[in-house]
């Protein structure tokens, strides 16, 4: 079948488009875990770009956790497990924010240490 969103060719049993990630599940399928209804065009965000940015710029192991959850989002989407994908998506988002927060905290501590360094320099200098 062809993806209605981007036109890419996909296997007939595909749960999502391999090109753009568009969900091929029929509309109004109630999900046992959340009871939510997923519209047919919905994709589940995996926050991969932010996870990689957090890993490379904040250089924290928490960024790796976000990447692992991003992989899980797409893995569960490919398997047709939308509830699982949404759960992993929430975790990916959470770890991105944790990484970002820790990165900001490091900036704060650096500035504080810098100020303290200047003050002690003034006292001893």
């Amino acid at each position: 079948m062809f993806c209605p969103q981007c036109g890419a060719s996909n296997p007939d049993n595909a749960a999502v488009c391999a090109q753009c990630g568009r969900n091929f599940q029929p509309a109004a399928t109630p999900l046992p875990a959340t009871g939510q209804v997923i519209p047919p065009g919905a994709t589940v965000e995996n926050y991969l770009v932010f996870a990689i940015l957090a890993t490379v710029l904040c250089c924290l192991p928490t960024g790796i956790a976000a990447i692992v959850y991003a992989a899980q989002v797409n893995g569960k989407l490919q398997a047709g497990d939308l509830a699982g994908a949404q759960e992993a998506s929430r975790n990916a988002k959470m770890w991105c924010w944790i990484s970002f927060g820790l990165g900001l905290a490091t900036v704060g501590v650096t500035i504080l240490l810098g100020i303290l360094g200047v003050i002690s320099g003034l006292h001893h200098g």
Partner: protein
Amino acid sequence: MANATSILEQRKHLLAVAVVAGTVGLVLLRNFDPAKSAIFPPCPLHFLTGWYCSGCGSLRAMHQLLQGNLRAAWALNPLTMVLLPFIGYGLTSQALLVLRGKGLPGVFLSANSIRVLCAVIVLFGILRNLPVHPFNLLAPGAMLHW
């Protein structure tokens, strides 16, 4: 429906904040070398343990890139230089998703490709700490003194 609209509005605000913060960051990064100036934070992992992480040198590398020194940028963090075009594409797609409800094509990666990417990032972080040639060339800036 009102709820969905407010989420979209929220995302637009977040995008505006991110664009402003990103632009300010890039201007600062272009004009101040993180290697010499104290306004950029050190890598927490390197600060605490002395080990290089996968991202060590990426701010200095981006400073060199913004100054047009490709060779220095590559030497400081080759992984960041390789990933940068993809990060740019991904961020553009995210911005378009907020603005027009549709991202760029081809941003969906299979779970296994993401796992491979994750392994490459972790492996790069480990290898650049090995004091053995040629892996020691991966340490930030080492290729410049080769």
